[in-house]
């Protein structure tokens, strides 16, 4: 144990690691500040650049981008009224009116303070709960993993889009694509059609980048060039201590909401931000000022959103289950570096886990520094024209995808997945369940087949333990809740003319 601590310490406290984490937070903030660039896209584009790094450095770069992206989204939301990331859409409600009133600086600073505090609390929750959950998961067998993945997929499919059936269909497509390659038990080919490069299955990186970057590039061609931003980000006064103290309770409440919702696979920052906002409004003595430029609204939205940042890593590190698309990408990064998150990793690679825990606490501090120094600079980034940005992203994608295996087939896979992703967007099939199912597909099938082998083909294997039953009940409950939520919100949607929020 002591050896693991010293190894972890040596891993983290090197200048390279600290610089990479800082760079990650800065890149993430830039990416988040650009409307149309999501933190998913940022993490996906950075993934090929991590191949030459050590596992800890590579993962920290991605985590830095993820966390920076969550805050960066609020910059464009406040200044340009265009959420840089989907989760920042709640910040618009009060952030944009504040900017219109000449209080952009206060809004941006409060967003930064709320983000940093929520991120710190979320990181603490990760450190406290991940190990505990991993120790529970050590008792899981293949049947328990099978039911756990079913639960995760149904939750992810249910909350990713505006339609449970479409989410599930998207997940089914992801599971189908994940079966391409050699069969692991019999060693026979599945959907390979004589292409030897396909025997290992479709590579994760081209599928990911194709699914998330190419459709975004194509969508830019359905829009007019973006307009210049007229708001000065340094306009108005700073946040004073009395205001900060007034919002502190809201920030803590939002952080806790973010932690709880972030730890549940599939929920994500959007739900947490809106729930935190509605709680702040409900408990406020002046609920009528929310939506007109109330600083507490910005604090609530940003703390809820950023409260999920560390917590989404709890199921990832403890169970190997990605809570959202970004953590699915990070899971892919772990696998590329030869690591498999889950309870076994806490035993075999504890030094890596501890190094991540140590470094992740630094990310909150770096977020504060980056945000404080660079608000003005990052706000200008939102002005990059789509005519330059989209082609640049495409070129980055092509170089990055090629570098994974030095294979042009991967570029074709990326483009094919991109066109498929665009078609899915037209059909309103959310891409997140597809990707999560694609990542979880192989372990899902393995768990199923191992259970079948152990039980000699009897399905009773999936009902043999209390853990199985817990996950079955949770699956049924989550499906029922999502269905009921959709059913009850349908009449409201018919009357509403508010455009739907883009899902990450």
């Amino acid at each position: 144990m002591f050896e693991n601590f010293t190894d972890a310490f040596a891993n983290v406290w090197s200048i390279d690691t600290v610089v990479v984490l800082f760079l990650g937070v800065a890149i993430g903030t830039v990416v988040g500040a650009i409307p149309g660039m999501t933190s998913v896209l940022g993490v996906a584009l950075a993934l090929p650049f991590t191949f030459t790094m050590s596992p800890v450095m590579g993962i920290l770069l991605l985590l830095g981008i993820y966390k920076g992206g969550m805050y960066g989204g609020s910059i464009a939301a406040i200044i340009a009224r265009a959420p840089g990331t989907p989760a920042a859409s709640c910040t618009i409600l009060d952030g944009a009116p504040m900017a219109q009133k000449g209080e952009a600086r206060r809004a941006l600073e409060m967003a930064l303070y709320a983000s940093c505090i929520a991120d710190f609390i979320s990181n603490l929750a990760l450190i406290v709960f991940a190990g505990w959950l991993a120790s529970l998961a050590l008792a899981f067998g293949p049947a328990e993993y099978f039911t756990l993945i079913i639960f995760s997929l149904t939750v992810a499919a249910g909350v990713a889009g505006d339609d449970l059936l479409r989410g599930l269909a998207s997940a089914a497509l992801g599971l189908m694509v994940a079966t391409i390659g050699l069969d692991l038990i019999y060693g026979t080919e599945r959907m390979v059609f004589g292409i030897t490069e396909l025997m290992e299955g479709l590579n994760f990186v081209p599928v990911l980048i194709g699914l998330f970057a190419i459709p975004e590039i194509l969508k830019q061609f359905t829009k007019r060039q973006s307009m210049a931003i007229e708001i000065n980000p340094l306009a108005g006064k700073s946040v004073n201590f009395a205001e900060f103290r007034r919002c502190l309770k809201t920030i803590f409440r939002g952080s806790l909401i973010g932690v709880v919702l972030g730890a549940i696979p599939g929920i994500g920052g959007i739900t947490a931000a809106f729930l935190s906002y509605s709680e702040a409004k409900r408990t406020s003595p002046n609920p009528e000022v929310f939506g007109t430029g109330e600083i507490e609204g910005v604090a609530a939205a940003e703390s809820g959103n950023n409260g999920t940042a560390g917590a989404t890593l709890i199921p990832l590190l403890a169970l190997g289950i990605p809570g959202d698309v970004v953590t699915a990408v990070i899971l892919g990064a772990f696998m590329i570096h030869g690591l498999r998150p889950g309870p076994i990793m806490f035993q075999e690679n504890l030094d890596v886990i501890l190094a991540l825990f140590m470094a992740i606490m630094l990310s909150s501090l770096f977020l504060f520094v980056v945000g404080k120094i660079c608000i003005r600079l990052f706000s200008r980034i939102a002005e990059i024209p789509a005519g330059i940005l989209s082609p640049a992203i495409l070129v980055l994608c092509v170089f990055g995808v090629y570098s994974v295996n030095n294979s042009t087939l991967d570029i074709f896979v990326m483009v094919a997945m991109g066109f498929a992703g665009y078609l899915m967007a037209l059909m309103r099939l959310p891409p997140a369940p597809f990707l999560i199912a694609f990542v979880l597909g192989p372990p899902f099938e393995d768990a199923f087949r191992q259970s079948m082998l152990l039980s000699h083909g009897s399905p009773s294997a999936f009902f043999g333990s209390a853990v199985n039953w817990v996950f079955w009940i949770l699956t049924i409950l989550s499906l029922t809740m999502v269905a009921r939520q959709r059913f009850s919100s349908a009449p409201m949607k018919r009357q509403s003319s508010v455009p739907e929020t883009k899902q990450e």
Binding site: A172, R190, V192, T222, A392, L396, L429
Partner: protein, 171 residues
């Protein structure tokens, strides 16, 4: 005729069709089965078959729900383009997306012949102009600068042999 106009029914039908093609045409020809399988549920084609049937069932459910939803005057018969956040006229947007798709496809096809840096520069210029960017100096500068920087990073720092095609003699 009504069926053709309801986009949700079309989506559901497309998913059913895709699931059927996968299950009944692609799996029999694409999955090599071992001579003997002791437990049928462990066979190489069992899991992909389950996925195919699941997709068909979900597609059918989407179509049926849209059918009954529209009959009861619900929102399920809206056209997908009604919620698609494009701000150009549909025909113009479709043309531009089609052209961008063609450029991306051509880009991937000429990478090995022209080399990745040159192909990237040309694709960048074509896509920039298609997007309406008319600052020629900026476009040309970025189209040269970005592929060269990426080429240098991947070849020097990451030791990735980037294909150079006809430009190999220049480097």
């Amino acid at each position: 005729m009504y069926l053709l106009h309801n986009s949700h029914i079309r989506v559901g039908a497309s998913l059913v069709l895709l699931g059927a093609i996968w299950t009944f045409f692609m799996l029999p020809s694409g999955v090599v089965l071992p001579a003997r399988v002791s437990i049928p549920t462990v066979a190489p084609d069992f899991w992909p078959t389950i996925c195919g049937y699941t997709l068909m069932v979900l597609g059918a459910a989407i179509a049926v729900r849209a059918w009954f939803g529209s009959k009861s005057g619900g929102q399920n018969d809206v056209q997908i383009t009604d919620t698609w956040d494009m701000d150009l006229p549909l025909r113009e947007a479709a043309t531009r997306v089609g052209a961008a798709g063609a450029i991306i496809l051509a880009y991937t096809l000429v990478i090995e012949t022209l080399g990745m840096p040159l192909a990237s520069s040309l694709a960048f210029i074509a896509l920039s102009f298609l997007a309406g960017e008319r600052r020629y100096v900026l476009v040309i500068s970025v189209s040269l600068f970005l592929p060269i920087i990426l080429f240098l990073f991947f070849t020097r720092a990451a030791s990735v042999p980037i294909p150079l095609g006809i430009t190999e003699a220049l480097v």
